[in-house]
């Protein structure tokens, strides 16, 4: 008994002393806080700040900057954070093109970057880095899940995405698992707001379902126009176009749409319940997928900080890789390329009272990694 008491006091004092001795940790958050894409960045920032606050870790200092969704600005901010603010860790970027501009040079300068959203295929494959951790997903994942799910009910799907790298990754991901025939494959303009021409082709194609990846305002426009067009073919999509940040703007047009996501507000685990409750109490709105991923990123960092000093890069990387934190997505671990292995769900848009939100109806993949992990020499 004495021995247990002594050792536990010893343990406690160690824990205390490590808190006392802990040095400040600077985290640079570059995200989109102005312009059309600001809704996503605001969710990432708000969830991150709240998670840090709730962790009670007072050594964490945040440097938050707005990239206005411009790659050149993001690069400048990253340089400033690394050179003059001397940040230890970086996170926050929403968009793949910005991530591609910032991440390779940041990780080459031995700054650890944790992605709360973007997951371009290059960074999962041959350009993977021990300093790069993706806490969200690899870009193809949600589309792969929808391709797999479409096999159940559909044989002739019409697919469309914007004509840029993430759009091509999307349709590639869908086709990787979809076994049916394609009724058509279209690439639209980035930032396009009118989809009448595309909807007319969908009507004419004889498709039995439509899969689209149109992030942000593009998806809102497409869904609203589709619902009014008189075309009644079921719609499938990745969770981005049916996330909590865009659902209010789409309105009832989104009801019943099946979409894929690694997270949903109704996921039944303790961490998720706590997260949804805390986020709603603090900000008076439902969290989005981006908020959930950012919350996990912050908690992953907090968990690693309790194990290792951020100045000891090797030990800290190891602590991150262990992913020893309570993810709001339930089971979560890192693959060899530091990308998640996680479950991907199919959700349906439903109405709870007056609020549009999602509910899980199926699991598309269990413990799903990504297609590029084998190209990563690490």
């Amino acid at each position: 008994m004495k021995k247990i008491l002594a050792s536990s006091i010893f343990g406690l004092s160690m824990a205390l002393s490590s808190v006392v001795m802990a040095e400040p940790v600077k985290i640079g958050v570059i995200t989109t806080l102005s312009g059309g894409g600001a809704g996503l960045g605001v969710d990432v920032r708000d969830a991150f700040v709240l998670a840090v606050k709730q962790s009670g870790n007072e050594d964490i200092e945040l440097v938050i900057e707005d990239d206005a969704q411009k790659p050149e600005l993001a690069v400048q901010l990253a340089e400033k954070m690394i050179q003059s603010d001397k940040v230890d860790l970086m996170t926050g970027i929403i968009w793949s093109n910005l991530a591609m501009a910032v991440v390779p040079s940041a990780v080459a300068q031995e700054v650890i970057y944790l992605s709360p959203n973007a997951g371009p295929s290059q960074l999962a494959g041959d350009k993977c880095s021990p300093n790069y951790f993706n806490v969200a997903y690899q870009n193809d994942n949600f589309h792969e899940a929808m391709g797999e799910y479409a096999n159940q009910d559909y044989k002739k799907t019409f697919i469309l995405a914007p004509n840029y790298p993430a759009g091509k990754d999307s349709l590639t991901g869908f086709k990787r698992y979809y076994k049916g025939e394609l009724a058509g494959e279209l690439y639209t303009q980035v930032g396009q707001t009118d989809y009448a021409a595309e909807i007319a082709q969908i009507r004419d194609s004889g498709a039995d379902s439509v899969f689209f990846f149109l992030p942000g305002g593009m998806g809102i426009s497409f869904m609203k126009q589709y619902a009014q067009s008189g075309v009644n073919i079921p719609v499938l999509g990745p969770g981005f176009s049916f996330s909590q940040d865009v659902l209010p703007a789409v309105g009832d047009a989104a009801l019943g749409v099946k979409n894929s996501s690694s997270w949903s507000k109704d996921l039944d685990n303790e961490a998720n319940k706590k997260f949804v409750e805390a986020f709603q109490a603090e900000y008076n709105r439902l969290p989005s997928l981006y908020a959930a991923q950012s919350w996990d990123t912050a908690n992953l960092i907090v968990s690693a900080l309790s194990k290792a000093s951020v100045k000891d890069k090797d030990a800290f990387r190891e602590a991150l890789k262990a992913a020893d934190f309570a993810s709001v997505r339930g089971s979560f671990k890192f693959n060899n390329n530091n990308h998640p292995i996680q479950d991907i769900y199919v959700r349906e848009v439903v109405k709870e009272g007056d609020v549009l939100t999602n509910k899980i109806i199926a699991t598309a993949f269990e413990q799903h990694g990504d297609a590029y992990a084998s190209e990563c020499k690490m």
Partner: protein
């Protein structure tokens, strides 16, 4: 490919063109009368959409929102003219571009500050919901037909205003010789404010009408602004008639390009490539058209007098 699909796409092109006309008419009017390049015209489009969405959400009536969009955009236009733009008429185009670009940033962030970062909801009024059967086409969205009709009515109204009224006479006089009509005792600064507010109201109307079809968000005006500039360059800067023809030409060429090019390329290329390449060329098509027209008619199709 059926005839019905072709007609449907032509209607889509017409609808896009009519919407562009509402934007381009104000832009070309302001340039014609005051000689001002107004980059902030897209922000007035956004103001119209936000005013409509906010009022519709508060009152439940799209029609009140539509009226609010006209009032808000016209008021914002008049205010901008009196406070800022008035000081720019005498300066060169580069100063005007710089100042109105600054206005875009100020108005965008101001809107975000007022309404938040998330897109707003604006739905088509219940009266105009859904699709209607059209001979030869099958189903076509009713609301798009209404936009075409509204655009045509506005075009006719503008024609009557400019050709038949005293205000229109002054606008035409202002286009021909600014100094002279001031010398003749016309209150030129009031005329300028009225023209600017009229252009702004048209942009606001376009924003509200289109806002119900797409996402009401900060920055929604800029893509439309670029197309509207293409339209007035094609149509001839300063000409309302040119704006109408240019807008419909751009609308139809853009829609048909997006629709036909991938199909044409599919005859010689595999599906994935023809989609990507066809899409890429389609997005350039109106600029190629603009370059071609400028090569043969350097001042546009319906150039106004210098």
């Amino acid at each position: 490919m059926s005839i019905a699909l072709l007609i449907e796409q032509l209607l889509n092109g017409l609808q896009l063109g009519v919407m562009l006309f509402l934007m381009a008419a104000g832009l070309t009017l302001i340039f014609g009368v005051m000689g001002l390049i107004n980059l902030a015209h897209g922000s007035l489009f956004m103001i119209g959409a936000f005013a409509c969405a906010a009022v519709a959400a508060a009152t439940g009536s799209f029609w009140l929102g539509l009226a609010a969009s006209l009032v808000a955009a016209a008021a914002a236009g008049a205010l901008i003219e009196v406070v800022i733009v008035r000081r720019l008429y005498a300066r060169d185009h580069l100063d005007q571009v710089l100042a109105t670009f600054a206005l875009i940033l100020i108005l965008s962030e101001g809107t975000r500050w007022l309404f938040g970062s998330f897109p707003l909801y604006l739905d088509i009024p219940s009266l105009l919901q859904g699709a209607v059967p059209l001979p030869g086409v099958g189903q076509y969205q009713l609301y798009r037909l209404v936009i075409i009709a509204v655009g045509m009515i506005v075009a006719a109204g503008l024609y009557l205003l400019i050709a038949r009224t005293r205000l229109g006479m002054r606008i035409r006089a202002g286009e021909s010789d600014r100094e002279m009509i001031a010398a003749l005792g016309v209150d030129i600064s009031t005329l300028y404010t009225v023209v600017f507010a009229l252009g702004a109201a048209l942009a606001g109307l376009a924003g509200a009408l289109v806002g119900a079809l797409q996402s009401v968000q900060v920055g929604m005006g800029e893509p439309v602004l670029i197309l509207a500039f293409v339209v007035i360059v094609i149509g001839g800067i300063g000409s309302i008639k040119g704006a109408l023809f240019g807008a419909i030409l751009v609308g139809i060429v853009d829609t048909m390009g997006r629709f036909l090019l991938p199909k044409l390329l599919a005859l010689v290329l595999p599906a994935t490539q023809s989609g990507a390449i066809g899409g890429a060329i389609a997005s350039m098509l109106i600029y190629i058209l603009m370059a071609l027209i400028l090569a043969f008619r350097p001042r546009g199709l319906f150039a106004a007098q210098a």
